[in-house]
């Protein structure tokens, strides 16, 4: 089975609940035209194909591009170059984002033309560039993420007091729009690459957080625009919404435009990368070919995915929202919760973040747990948004403010890896599915409920979706920090050591040291002192009968992270290497090392 099959299966697993729920609604309480139901089903199939191909393409293209670019940034010797290069990466990846232009024109219309759409796009992109630049500095300098984010959100809070509620909603929405289908994977890859190059004990924590930092850029930019221009109120209405007719026509009509947009969004980063490759990287033909293949997959997948979502899902969301809005408010809130619960898992970036978590922690953090937490967070966010639509007295900041405040507070109590994941999750959850399907659902509900304002209430939904996962994952991270480790009583007895047979051709031993995550460097240091030369580290996770790591409350057993160090030593030193590793007190106490030796037949020349 290949990875594409695995990806497709994963997408099916996440998409199926959405399809079932929607169809169930269609045949029970909501009255939907057959055309739209068929279009929804066609859209689902397209979404399945598009998303699988897209995820595959990202794997082939964005990950290596992110890795090479981050290498270029990190190994730079000039501060100015690091700043400018990371600024440009952030700027370029944002400026071409189609969602952002849509948002810009919405704001232009809403402000009665006083604000230019292009101006907004550029300002937001500059905001992202600056934040990426700062985020890269933070990462390279190893400053704690929680303090960095506290300061950032502190500034946002101060600005939030100065802007109107409309602009508060728009600024958070801008953040949701910039963390689109393409930007998020790229920035995730960039931060993974940077942390790999940077290395060190905090490399795991550093793999996350850049998306979170980036998504603060648009918030700051839009708030500043509002304050400087003195624009407070937005006028106008969302305009008359026309549900497209027919089954295939809307899909076919939408595709070329979306394809062009996707191409445009992909272009700046590709050009920058190929330019750099021409001057500097000079990758082999094979590698380059792989990346180009990946880019083609990404483009095709993205275009199919977005078409499916825009023409298959949006009308459906709108109609369900309108129909439910007419019914009991409790049904609206309940269905909203359910939709949020399952729709977020279809977001492309959620898949990519999950993959990254798995790679970085080699399976130590259970993916299902992260997904569940994310789901509950987003479900609650949508439900609360529905409450806000139904009850006009409830304001957006009633939830946003305490939500972020608690999240920030928890970030000092949480397991450090989770701080990054949590901030990233906000940007990751508010992707294209939220921006189309869920937003359409909320706006549909808002149009039928008299007291609701389609524009303001609609905008706020994305802000809520961006906040809730930060909060919920931070809670999970706090639980992880307090995981219980039960140690057995270690019986120390004098041990006999079996010696290795000296065969004529065995001149080397392979020593395998299994230790807790973070101790590999120490193992190598000790081993080197007693005569070992090279070493290779593998990341893994391990379980031990005698030692159990449990999460409080939910009682899930975790597999602690391990590092496996592979050493090749000459037989004459291998004993002393093994002994000294076991004797090292630091390793013995916290590292929980165990050492294994096997005779190895090495080609001596290669060990020079």
């Amino acid at each position: 089975m290949s990875m594409l099959v695995d990806k497709t299966k994963e997408v099916i697993r996440t998409l199926l609940p959405v399809v079932i729920l929607v169809l169930l609604l269609c045949y029970t309480i909501v009255d939907v035209e057959t055309d739209i139901i068929i279009r929804f089903i066609v859209g689902s199939v397209m979404l399945l194909i598009g998303l699988s191909v897209f995820l595959w393409g990202i794997d082939l293209s964005m990950n290596p591009i992110g890795e090479h670019m981050s290498m270029e940034i990190a190994t730079s010797r000039s501060l100015l170059k690091i700043a400018i290069l990371s600024f440009f990466l952030g700027f370029l990846v944002t400026v071409a984002e189609p969602d952002l232009l849509i948002l810009g024109s919405q704001v232009e219309a809403a402000s009665g033309g006083t604000m230019n759409a292009t101006f907004i796009v550029y300002m937001v992109s500059i905001g992202v560039g600056v934040m990426i630049s700062l985020g890269v500095f933070r990462l390279l300098r190893d400053k704690p993420l929680n303090i960095f984010m506290t300061i950032t959100y502190g500034i946002i809070l101060v600005l939030a007091i100065l802007v109107s509620e409309e602009f508060l909603a728009i600024s958070f929405d801008a953040s949701g729009a910039t963390t689109g289908a393409l930007t998020t994977p790229f920035v995730l890859a960039l931060s993974l690459g940077l942390s790999k190059v940077k290395g060190g004990s905090s490399s795991e924590e550093n793999s996350f957080g850049l998306v979170g930092i980036m998504s603060a850029g648009p918030i700051l930019a839009v708030m500043l625009i509002s304050i400087i221009s003195g624009q407070k109120n937005i006028q106008g209405d969302a305009g008359e919404y026309i549900v497209a007719e027919g089954v295939l026509r809307p899909i076919i009509n939408a595709f070329p435009g979306i394809f062009a947009e996707s191409l445009l969004a992909l272009l700046p980063i590709s050009i920058l990368f190929f330019g750099y490759n021409f001057i500097k990287f000079k990758l082999t033909k094979e590698e380059l070919f792989r990346i180009i293949k990946g880019l083609v997959f990404t483009l095709l997948g993205l275009a199919i995915f977005l078409t499916a979502v825009n023409s298959g899902f949006m009308d459906m969301g709108r109609i369900i929202g309108m129909e439910l809005g007419k019914m009991s408010h409790w049904i609206l809130i309940g269905i909203g919760f359910l939709l949020g619960l399952i729709v977020v898992l279809v977001e492309p970036a959620v898949h990519i973040l999950g993959e990254q978590i798995e790679e970085v922690t080699s399976g130590h953090i259970p993916l299902s747990l992260i997904r569940m937490t994310l789901s509950i967070g987003v479900g609650a966010a949508i439900a609360l948004s529905m409450v806000r639509i139904v009850v006009p007295e409830v304001k957006l900041w009633y939830f946003l403010l305490p939500g972020f405040a608690f999240a920030i507070l928890l970030s000092f109590k949480s397991d450090p890896v989770f701080v990054g994941i949590a901030y990233d999750a906000g940007g990751v959850a508010s992707g294209p599915m939220t921006a189309t399907f869920v937003l359409a659902f909320a706006q549909g509900a808002a149009t039928v409920i008299e007291t609701a304002n389609v524009l303001v209430d609609g905008f706020g939904v994305i802000a809520m979706v961006a906040m809730a996962p930060v909060f919920s994952i931070m809670v999970l991270g706090t639980a992880f920090k307090h995981k219980k480790v039960t140690y057995p009583v270690i019986e120390k007895k004098s041990v006999m050591t079996s010696h290795l047979i000296e065969e004529g051709n065995i001149q080397h031993d392979c020593i395998l040291v299994v230790a807790n995550r973070g101790f590999a460097e120490r193992v190598i240091e000790v081993a080197r002192q007693s005569g070992a030369t090279g070493a290779t580290i593998i990341r893994g996770r391990g379980t031990d009968e005698d030692q159990k790591v449990m999460l409080p409350v939910i009682n899930i057993e975790l597999q602690p992270e391990k590092e496996i160090v592979l050493l090749i030593t000459g037989t004459h030193v291998s004993e002393s290497v093994a002994d000294s590793v076991l004797r090292d007190t630091q390793l013995e106490q916290d590292g929980e090392v165990s050492v294994f030796i096997s005779p190895a037949e090495a080609m001596v020349e290669t060990l020079a």
């Binding site: 290949s2 580290i537 592979l566 290669t606």
Partner: protein, 218 residues
């Protein structure tokens, strides 16, 4: 504490390692370590599309020889290693090293390593693992598993002081005794491992295999 004198390795598709470990614990295995790897499949069409990677999980269980034998039997049965592409398992005689409390003379165990197969491990820079697998295939190996790893950190002075951790790939090829030498030589020459810094290659003896379709006498 029981004597540990073998390391039981299982390579299965991603997500299955936990099931295998659970089963292994029923057989008396105490602890296991899991890490991620990549397998390869041979298929011309998929190669063109760039779809040759398969995510694998490698489970490493340290245990006594008896338990390892039991694991071989139970796990091959349970997870159908005798069918192709279901997974493979093998044992490498890794001894657990323990500190000498007394000054007692170290006894060498008379046990002979009856290696029927060999595990060829090649450590190269990231990106060259594929070439290594191709070389192994050309010399008669069926396939290989790629493990992502990193070398020991080298402090480097850039604008920000970094500890550059070179990304490495470990290629694991299991093969019969007869084929081991040609495969090793082929990899050695094709990847120019003779040059300093290009990578290292070594072989480990394998006691017993399950799920490998070459040179196995039923």
């Amino acid at each position: 504490m029981i004597d540990i004198d073998a390391m039981f390795f299982v390579v299965v598709s991603q997500g299955k390692a936990n099931d295998v470990l659970r089963k292994a614990k029923d057989c008396g295995a105490k602890s296991g370590t899991i890490f991620l790897g990549e397998g390869t499949i041979q298929n011309k069409l998929l190669e063109i599309l760039g779809l040759t990677e398969v995510r694998k999980e490698i489970l490493m269980i340290s245990s006594s020889n008896e338990i390892c034998d039991k694991l071989h039997e139970t796990l091959s049965e349970e997870f159908m290693f005798y069918k192709k592409n279901k997974g493979i398992a093998f044992t490498i005689p890794f001894k657990r090293w323990q500190l000498q409390d007394t000054l007692e003379e170290q006894k060498s165990s008379p046990e002979n390593i009856a290696a029927t197969h060999f595990c060829i491990l090649t450590i190269v820079d990231k990106g060259r693992g594929k070439a290594c697998i191709n070389a192994a295939r050309a010399a008669g190996a069926r396939g290989g598993t790629l493990i992502h790893a990193r070398g020991a950190g080298i402090p480097a002075e850039f604008y920000f002081p970094l500890v550059i951790e070179p990304q490495k790939e470990i290629v694991m090829v299991i093969t019969t005794k007869e084929k081991a030498a040609p495969i090793r030589n082929r990899i050695f020459s094709e990847l120019e491992l003779g040059k300093v810094g290009n990578g290292i290659i070594f072989t480990l003896p394998v006691n017993r295999v399950s799920g490998i379709f070459e040179g196995v006498t039923p």
